[in-house]
């Protein structure tokens, strides 16, 4: 255990298409909702973490907070998991007492969001962009064919990842896509980047959320049951998908997972609920194997056999995931939120009474990873 809890957690009132909200406003709304969830106000916060843009200085200032601890770690969609890990260290060191971690992204409407501009003198700009890459659909997806050839993953098994997650989304009124789908539906959807069809790619939405993190000795001071941060991990592998060490496995996932499981003192057998960042359908497959839930090559059949869907032995991505629930661009905050809801027993598609939930985040294209082990009790 780390001696740190998540005392407040909430998302923006709405997710989806929100042209009336800027990126900054989504941060603010998420922050106020999370503080209310913890029974706190902005006056109680002494530390702020988020990614640029807008970054922790802007978010703190907009909220009228003058923080004495800051974390602007911005390593893609997993950044918020790293913020939790860094907040644990800060609280243990006495550098901060109550840390607010925010996410907001006008990923779909692009209100106040700025643009993307590739620096053509950077390594990715020189050695990938000239070949026609255009964001995650053209890069995050490239390892999949190698995995499919080496481990026999079929197109149908890949498609089933989206089918299984839609079953969870069907039980979640806040999910953007809720109608159940079949493998045939997935394979008949528009090709985006072979072998990936539209329904194997995440949504693009607007939304936000925030967390309030503090010391476990204050666990009784808040309206909601505490969610204990039992273990954390972080790692990076590569800034360019072409330079990923082995296209059939994520080193970053594995290293972050090992660190988090070791700190929590758990094995996969202790895990009741799992969130794996799913920008594309192959990512949960890589995540299940990197965390050691199944052996190399077994994750596709494991999901296709129903183990991760409602009623299965390992509930996975129970909000519907990035494929069906929401995906603003930096999805990690939403994966944490669902882990918190499941531990508290307040998820729309509640998966029993999990004592331990593991959240695996991805940043960039297998570039970075953060892992959190969350628990109902301190260990």
């Amino acid at each position: 255990m780390t001696g740190v809890i998540i005392a407040g957690a909430a998302e923006t009132d709405e997710l989806g298409k929100l042209p009336g909200h800027s990126t900054l406003n989504l941060h603010i709304e998420g922050a106020l909702n999370a503080l209310a969830d913890a029974g706190l106000t902005t006056r109680d916060v002494d530390g702020v973490a988020t990614v640029a843009n807008p970054g922790p200085v802007q978010v703190a200032h907009a909220l009228g907070i003058t923080p004495t601890w800051l974390d602007g770690t911005g390593v893609g969609g997993t950044s918020f998991l790293l913020h939790v890990r860094h907040a644990v260290a800060a609280i243990k060191a006495g550098h901060a007492k109550t840390i607010l971690i925010t996410h907001g992204e006008s990923g779909r409407s692009r209100v106040g969001a700025g643009g993307f501009r590739m620096n053509l003198s950077s390594p990715p700009g020189q050695f990938e962009a000239p070949y026609g890459t255009l964001g995650p659909t053209t890069t995050f997806t490239i390892p999949a064919l190698r995995y499919m050839k080496d481990y026999g993953l079929t197109h149908e098994q890949l498609a089933y990842v989206a089918v299984a997650q839609r079953k969870w989304a069907a039980r979640n009124p806040r999910a953007m896509f809720r109608e159940e789908i079949t493998v045939e539906d997935v394979l008949a959807s528009r090709m985006v980047a072979y072998p990936f069809h539209l329904l194997e790619c995440c949504l693009v939405t607007d939304g936000g959320g925030a967390l309030v993190v503090t010391a476990a000795d204050r666990a009784g001071d808040f309206p909601k049951p505490p969610v204990h941060v039992l273990g954390t991990g972080e790692a990076s592998e590569t800034p360019m998908i072409s330079q990923m060490t082995d296209f059939t496995e994520s080193q970053a996932f594995r290293l972050a997972g090992q660190s988090a499981f070791a700190e929590a003192g758990i094995t996969t057998a202790d895990v009741d609920h799992l969130m794996i960042y799913d920008a594309f359908a192959h990512v949960p497959i890589y995540g299940l194997e990197a965390l050691g839930f199944v052996k190399k090559g077994e994750a596709g059949p494991f999901i296709a056999d129903g183990n991760t869907e409602p009623g299965g032995s390992l509930p996975l991505n129970t909000n519907g995931g990035g494929l069906s629930y929401t995906h603003t661009g930096m999805y990690g905050m939403f994966a944490i939120q669902e882990g918190v809801r499941q531990i508290r027993g307040e998820a729309p598609a509640q998966a029993g009474e999990p004592a331990i939930s593991v959240v695996l985040g991805n940043g960039g294209m297998f570039a970075t990873s953060g892992v959190l082990v969350l628990g109902r009790q301190p260990r």
Binding site: M118, L120, S121, P123, G125, Q126, F127, E128, A129, P130, Y131, G132, T133, L134, T137, T138, T139, T141, I142, P143, A144, L145, R146, K149, R190, M191, V192, A193, Y194, P195, F196, M240, I241, S242, Q243, F247
Partner: protein, 150 residues
């Protein structure tokens, strides 16, 4: 074509001092990459330190240009400048020397049937603005690659 509708250009890489020898090689029709003189291992992308052992004692050499197809996607949503080619393959090849690089496929249909993983490929060069970049096409059949390259 209406003059008011400019055609987007494909991205032209901007060399840095560390990467210029790579582009000089491409312009001369050679795939020049680096290797470490301490641990002898080749690597890509260009940088002044060996990623395998951390040594700064590195040198440039001319790679064979032989490679195999490691993985790819066939992209249906073209990047600016690639509209006329969609759907097009974005590939990663493994050089005979070991390092991998992203590339385009030349001289083959961009279909799953035509692009088999591990198929042999051979470097070619494409002019892109004021620089030359490597792309890969089918390896010459029959004669060994050294002879075929002559």
């Amino acid at each position: 074509m209406p003059a008011s509708k400019p055609v987007p250009a494909k991205p032209v890489p901007v060399p840095t001092p560390e990467t210029q020898p790579f582009y000089d090689g491409c312009a001369a029709g050679e795939l020049r990459i680096q290797r470490c003189t301490a641990c002898a291992r080749p690597y890509f992308y260009p940088r002044p330190v060996c990623p395998h052992c951390g040594s700064a004692r590195v040198e440039w050499f001319t790679a064979s240009g032989d490679a195999t197809l490691y993985s790819y996607v066939i992209n249906h949503r073209p990047a600016p400048g690639f509209e006329a080619e969609a759907p097009y393959a974005i590939a990663v090849v493994e050089l005979a020397e070991g390092p991998r690089m992203m590339t385009s496929i030349a001289g083959l249909p961009h279909t799953p049937e035509a692009l088999e993983l591990d198929m042999p490929l051979r470097v070619r060069f494409e002019q892109r603005g004021d620089v030359t970049i490597p792309v890969f096409g089918p390896a010459p059949s029959g004669a060994d690659s050294a002879g075929a390259a002559a």
